[in-house]
């Protein structure tokens, strides 16, 4: 078996809050194979962004990170700041939700892309500018040569996200981590960006981690999905298996709560209660208080993420039992 591109092993993150440590991530283990697209879904505070900020060492210094991150099978803990900067961009590129605030407002977009090209590929100024134009062409920005001299505020949100993707591609990364890349965009522009991400992946063979709260987006362009709740992965499965046959009650609940434009109109089945505060997690399984399938054992022990089939894992004592959400509906 080949060495995976990135492997996270039992990653934990604690933040200092008022003199105490509050655990945001409770041991996340995740493997990204070369060229695959993984979707990471969860609600706010579930730890989906923190996982990747921790893995790429982008969290503030006050955060306490534990666990292992292996890149090509080698741990990255020992890397210096400079070495780590080489990993980011060159091996792992990140794009975020709001493209306009990720770009520097006082520099032309061409300069910003060229800077990234020079940094990661060592081109001279002229070659970097030519490469910047080529990258803008590649992300299908019309009249790329003229757009090089535009400032971010002169471009639309969708075009700025294309610029961010061009910058991410500048280092020819093996993995692109896209954190809610279309959340700030309109639905027709979102469709364009999702198609672009899929196209770039086909052409370059890079792996993709798509972080999103939107199950529809994740279903659209990923091969495998991990569902997070309260700082843990609760279910992981190939995309079709997850949506056709969800095993964890939380995943089942999310799907039942999702309105759709197709299919029959039905009353939504809401998940009762709310996401727990990370500083005051319930005992046992964090989802137990909201779970219709919970039994007494669910509040005394924390279920581990175990393989339930060759390629899927579920953290639930009650996985495989009747789907209680349908009964509730």
């Amino acid at each position: 078996m080949t060495v995976p591109l990135i492997e996270l092993k039992d990653l934990t993150v604690d933040f200092p809050v008022g003199g105490n440590w509050v655990r945001a991530l409770h041991g996340v283990s995740l493997t990204i194979r070369r060229g695959e697209a993984l979707g990471l879904v969860g609600e706010s505070g579930s730890g989906k962004s923190v996982t990747w900020l921790a893995a790429t060492k982008l969290l503030p210094a006050k955060a306490r990170i534990d666990g292992e991150v292996l890149l090509d099978g080698k741990p990255i803990q020992g890397l210096t700041r400079d070495q780590m900067a080489g990993v980011r961009g060159k091996r792992v590129a990140l794009i975020f939700q709001d493209p306009t605030s990720s770009l520097n407002p006082v520099h032309r977009v061409g300069t910003q892309i060229a800077e990234s090209v020079r940094l990661h590929r060592g081109f001279d100024a002229a070659a970097a500018r030519a490469e910047a134009k080529r990258l803008l062409d590649r992300v299908h920005i019309p009249s790329a040569a003229r757009r090089l001299d535009d400032y971010p505020h002169e471009l639309s949100g969708g075009t700025n996200q294309r610029v961010m993707i061009a910058m991410a591609l500048a280092g020819e990364p093996d993995l692109l981590v896209a954190d809610e890349p279309t959340t700030a965009l309109d639905v027709t522009i979102q469709a364009q960006i999702l198609d672009l991400l899929a196209e770039m992946r086909r052409e370059t063979g890079m792996a993709l981690v798509l972080i999103s709260h939107d199950l529809g987006i994740v279903a659209d362009i990923t091969d495998r999905v991990a569902v997070m709740y309260a700082g843990r992965i609760v279910e992981e499965a190939p995309v079709d298996a997850l949506f056709d046959d969800p095993r964890h009650p939380y995943t089942q609940g999310l799907l039942a709560a999702l309105p759709d434009v197709a299919g029959p109109r039905r009353r939504l089945t809401a998940i009762p209660g709310q996401v727990p505060n990370p500083a005051a997690l319930p005992p046992g399984c964090a989802f137990a208080p909201r779970c219709p399938a919970a039994i007494s054992g669910c509040v005394t022990a924390i279920p581990s993420l175990d393989a339930v089939a060759a390629d899927r894992r579920t953290a639930c004592f009650r996985a495989g039992h009747a789907t209680p959400w349908e009964i509730a509906a």
Binding site: V187, D260, V275
Partner: protein, 330 residues
């Protein structure tokens, strides 16, 4: 059946400076450019469209919190003006607004109970004890237990705060609720709770909703009729099932087709090219024609009117899509 709210030919134009900042030539931004609709009592009209299409401006014009340039708004048989006289104030009670971000719609320094009672106090309704009683019963109706009465907004979750905002609106016993993206700031599992709550409240209090959202999936869940806006105009209006399953306007078709859902995963999308044009320089003819796959010469010169189709829907298109459903009913 006479409508509770009737809107006819609503227009709001802004005079702004064009490119070049302060020295740019004066140009007209057509935020809302002739919008008409009617909502019968107890029903919901969903107003959808992308950012800048004029849906929120329409809401403010309907409520009379923004002066319109042309057109007419009739609420419960009376015209709605924007002059703040006695009638305007009494209409305020019957027409309430629910915003997207509940935290900024609430006062952080007042307890939940005080905030829920406040509108009744402002409108001079009932004695203090009655207001207290009413607040508790409204809080119960929106699913907030009485233990929240003395809490502050920051102690509540997003879903609970949106319930407080709803309670504040409902304590005045309004007839119409204008909801502007009421659930967009909430998490998926909480969105379903609030959508169901809105549906239940409509039934319980015989409310009429003008429901504004960019999310077609959510609108389908609550609306009895849907109007799709593009650059200040309604381009299609009709029954949600007909409109979403077999859109007649190419823009509606693109909008519906662009929504990724688990059910439609893996299907190819007919992606719409380009960004929406600015409402400052709307293209001549049909304002959608530069992005429209069906556009012909006529579309570039003649603006289509909103006309009835055979199935009772309305579409503003010279060449509406009639037979081919955008996606088969699954």
């Amino acid at each position: 059946m006479s409508a509770l709210l009737e809107v006819e030919g609503l227009v709001k134009h802004y005079h702004v400076r064009g490119g070049g900042g302060l020295f740019g030539a004066p140009v007209v931004l057509k935020a809302v450019d002739g919008v008409s609709f009617a909502i019968p009592a107890g029903r919901t009209l969903g107003l959808v469209g992308e950012s800048g299409c004029g849906k929120s401006t329409t809401a403010r014009l309907v409520l009379g919190t923004l002066a319109r340039d042309d057109g007419q708004v009739m609420f419960d048989g009376e015209p709605v003006g924007s002059v703040r006289d006695a009638r305007w104030r009494s209409q305020r009670r019957a027409m309430q607004m629910v915003y997207q971000d509940p935290l900024s719609a609430l006062d952080r320094r007042l307890t939940v109970g005080k905030q829920v009672m406040e509108p009744a106090l402002v409108h001079g309704l009932g004695a203090a004890a009655e207001r207290h009683e009413k607040a508790l019963s409204i809080m119960d109706a929106v699913g907030l237990s009485s233990r929240f009465f003395d809490r502050y907004p920051h102690e509540l979750s997003g879903g609970q705060r949106q319930r407080v905002v709803l309670a504040r609106a409902l304590i005045l016993s309004p007839k119409l609720l204008v909801c502007d993206e009421p659930i967009s700031a909430l998490d998926v599992s909480i969105q379903a709770q609030v959508i169901n709550l809105l549906v239940d409240l409509q039934e319980k209090f015989s409310l009429t909703y003008l429901f504004i959202s960019h999310d077609l999936k959510v609108v389908r869940q609550v609306a009895h009729e849907v109007a799709v806006m593009y650059l200040g105009r309604v381009v299609e209006r009709g029954d949600p099932e007909a409109l979403f399953h077999a859109p007649a306007h190419p823009y509606t078709q693109a909008l519906v087709g662009a929504i990724p859902t688990p059910r439609t995963r893996g299907r190819a999308r007919a992606a719409l090219q380009g960004d929406p044009p600015s409402p400052i320089n709307t293209p001549p003819g049909c304002s959608f024609h530069p992005r429209c796959p069906r556009a012909e010469a006529r579309c570039r010169s003649e603006a289509p009117l909103l006309r009835p189709l055979d199935d009772g829907r309305f579409a503003a298109c010279h060449f509406p899509v009639l037979s081919t459903p955008a996606r088969e009913a699954a």
